[in-house]
């Protein structure tokens, strides 16, 4: 059905992208692979030596690494359901007819959190959640909650900001899904059943599935990448209570300067990411 196009033409179109991504994406990975097999400390570059898989052994048996990994998935598991629940609620409200102006304004304001620089979200968090002069405690009726210095509260605070920043994304994606439902079908369903739940479950849900899948994929990837907001808000503290995987690797590589170990950690993270992406994309995105 399609043109037979010469290899040269294909390459002319797609080659530059492949080369560019190979240079900025693959070459560093190969280099990381090389460093991960060495004792490679930035402040001890004279003592670089080949040590085989020792760094990998260290990572695989290091509870600190796996705790950070577990913490990262725990964050995903706590924030994502909230984002989906709230996002769905917002989408359903916005999907109702009427109040057009107000809803347009709401849609506009939903765009704001998503576009905000992640590092700035963390800085804002520091200002707003400060125990003494933070506005959050004031709004909670003069509460004296120690947000940043308490392990549990700090984690809740991270969840709050993650939810604040990404619920709008979920809401807008689901709203788009809702608008795909053919009007007459929805109307018919509403006449038949008085329960919004039935309408949601049997009529609207099928149209929401692709959006939910996209949300799952992107939120997983973004949580594994999460760095900026936490770096500026808690730097992983107090203790290690908000040290997620990307922060941990940054600490090993650029504060303890052990690039060999950090590369091994990064490569293991990459493998986990690719496996997850494979599963997600192969299962849900069949077509190309």
């Amino acid at each position: 059905m399609r043109d037979r196009v010469s290899r040269r033409t294909i390459f002319a179109f797609i080659g530059p992208s492949i080369i560019a991504l190979a240079l900025v994406g693959i070459a560093p990975l190969l280099y990381a692979g090389w460093t991960s097999l060495h004792f490679f400390n930035l402040t001890k570059l004279r003592r670089v030596k080949f040590i085989g898989l020792e760094n990998y052994g260290t990572v695989l048996t290091d509870p600190v690494f796996w705790e950070a990994m577990g913490r990262t998935f725990f964050l995903l598991a706590s924030a994502l359901p909230i984002q989906v629940a709230l996002g769905l609620g917002i989408a359903l409200v916005l999907h109702r007819p009427g109040l057009t102006l107000l809803k347009t304004l709401t849609r506009l304001s939903l765009v704001l959190p998503m576009a905000t620089t992640y590092a700035v979200v963390g800085l804002l968090g520091q200002v707003m959640f400060n125990q003494k002069f933070g506005v959050v405690n004031q709004l909670l009726g003069g509460a004296d909650i120690n947000w940043i210095g308490d392990s549990t509260n700090a984690f809740i605070m991270i969840i709050f900001w993650d939810v604040w920043q990404w619920t709008p994304f979920v809401a807008l994606v689901l709203l788009a899904g809702l608008s795909m439902v053919p009007g007459e079908i929805e109307e018919a369903a509403r006449l038949e059943s008085k329960s919004w739940w039935v309408v949601l479950r049997y009529v609207q849900l099928p149209f929401l599935i692709p959006g939910l899948v996209a949300v799952l994929i992107l939120r997983t990837a973004d949580t594994l990448k999460l760095f900026d907001m936490v770096f500026t808000l808690t730097r992983g503290g107090p203790g290690s209570s908000t040290e997620f995987i990307s922060l941990m690797i940054q600490r090993v590589g650029f504060r303890a300067f052990d690039q060999g170990l950090a590369s091994a950690q990064a490569i293991i993270l990459l493998i986990i990411t690719i496996v997850l992406a494979q599963i997600y994309i192969r299962v849900f995105y069949k077509e190309v």
Binding site: T43, K44, R46, D150, G239, S240, R255
Partner: protein, 446 residues
């Protein structure tokens, strides 16, 4: 290159020929700098009072020498990483700003030049350099490594006890606690009430945790990081006593002390929420200025309290050293700047503008102690201190990360002081093992 050598030797010959003339002329910065006018010197500065002080004085130097000082400001927590990356990459920095715990690292990597190179060059060395005027402890700890001096002490600290006289008097004390034990058992309960706390110990998980919190409690109780064989000494009864003391003391500190960095601690003191803090001398100007402090009139300074093992105040501070990656001209210009910034002649003005010089002569005038209440305590603590308060060897950047992680976990109660010390010790020894201290490849210097 060759041409340059020839030129240099010609200049040298000319210099020798004119020896009589030049010795008649006194050395002057202006003349010494003449060949380097127009050179730009890159240096990392922190956002702290001592740096602002020298920055304010800088126009005079630039005008006299024609040397341009290009300051790149970084927060402390980024300063090591920035400099390491610059030196590894062969970047533009001409001066290294060295926290005392970085000196072993910088020296072993040969990123910095020993001062000999300049002090033995009569064209560059100020006859009034008077290296012996620096407090020996400070010069040795901040600028020296393995018997060689690399840097001159520039931004100098000692840990001091800042206390709020008004709060103490109100609670019936006419002076600060002399010992840590008193601070906890007597002052603690009396001063912790109505949302106020007796004490705050900055303990955030970064260098603050290692330097200000962890090291501060182990030394006065007779503990240390390492024993004489460089094995962990953290499980010793003394180190454990210190760490346990810190746990017990936390009931008299604000909640969330593990999230307190210097800013939060100083602010809590300046707002009158905390009666005592142990902080660096550099904060003096912050807590006595009415702009930043509500308790300016109540601030008094004492040396840090004593422990069973005596007074072991925290020691910290920065020296400036010439970077070996700089070319000859930049090195000369960098040296002239360092020599000028830390000179005897400038010490008084530096002090006045909020810096803390490490020159003994600067504190000779007893009248100064009235203006700067921290001087007697500072001078006392610089008489004898522990240079290895935090080990200064090349492995510190790795070890401090471990201390920070497990030190905060202890404070949060996630591990006991023993469990924490156990793991911390193992991880610390693994780093030292790797570095070759146990196989005898490396001398046991800290």
């Amino acid at each position: 290159m060759k041409l340059r050598n020839i030129l240099a030797s010609t200049a040298l010959a000319a210099g020798l020929a004119m020896g009589a003339v030049s010795s008649a002329h006194a050395w002057s910065l202006k003349e010494a700098a003449a060949p380097y006018a127009g050179t730009t010197v890159d240096v990392v500065f922190l956002l702290r009072p001592g740096y602002e002080a020298i920055e304010a004085m800088l126009p005079a130097f630039e005008e006299e020498t024609g040397i341009k000082i290009n300051i790149i400001k970084h927060p402390y927590e980024n300063a090591l990483g920035e400099q390491v990356r610059d030196f590894v990459a062969g970047g533009d920095l001409d001066i290294a700003l060295i926290d005392l715990v970085w000196i072993g690292n910088f020296a072993e990597n040969e990123w910095i030049v020993p001062i000999d190179k300049f002090t033995t060059n009569p064209d560059l060395a100020d006859p009034n350099l008077d290296i012996n005027d620096f407090f020996p402890l400070v010069l040795n700890a901040f600028g020296g490594w393995n018997g060689t001096v690399y840097g001159l002490p520039f931004d100098n600290y000692s840990g001091l006890l800042f206390y709020n006289r008004c709060m103490l008097e109100e609670a019936g004390f006419d002076g600060p606690p002399a010992t840590w034990q008193d601070l906890k058992d007597v002052y603690g309960p009396a001063l912790t009430k109505d949302g106020k706390y007796a004490y705050a110990l900055q303990s955030k998980r970064n260098e603050t945790q290692s330097a200000d919190s962890f090291a501060r409690v182990i030394w006065p109780f007779g503990g240390s990081f390492l024993d004489e064989n460089f094995r962990s000494n953290l499980l010793s009864a003394e180190s454990q006593a210190g760490l346990q003391f810190r746990q017990d003391l936390m009931q008299y500190m604000p909640d969330g002390i593990v999230a307190y960095d210097h800013a939060e601690t100083v602010n809590a003191f300046a707002q009158g929420d905390v009666a005592m803090i142990t902080e660096w001398s550099a904060f003096y100007s912050t807590v006595v200025s009415a702009d930043t402090s509500k308790v300016a009139d109540c601030v008094e300074i004492a040396p840090e309290p004593m422990g069973p093992a005596g007074r072991k105040p925290a020691l910290g501070g920065f020296s400036l050293a010439v970077a070996s990656q700089a070319d000859e001209d930049e090195q000369a210009a960098a040296w002239l700047f360092i020599q000028w910034a830390t000179s005897k002649a400038n010490a008084a003005e530096y002090l006045e503008r909020g810096g803390v010089p490490a020159r003994q002569s600067a504190y000779a005038d007893p009248a100064l102690a009235e203006t700067y209440k921290f001087i007697p305590a500072l001078v006392e603590s610089w008489q004898d201190g522990v240079p290895e308060f935090r080990p200064r060897f090349a492995e510190w950047p790795e070890i401090t990360e471990i201390v920070q992680e497990w030190g905060t976990k202890m404070m949060l109660g996630e591990v006991t002081t023993e469990e924490g010390a156990q793991i911390l010790g193992e991880r610390m020894e693994a780093v030292l093992e790797e570095a070759g201290y146990y196989s005898g490849d490396k001398p046991l210097a800290q």
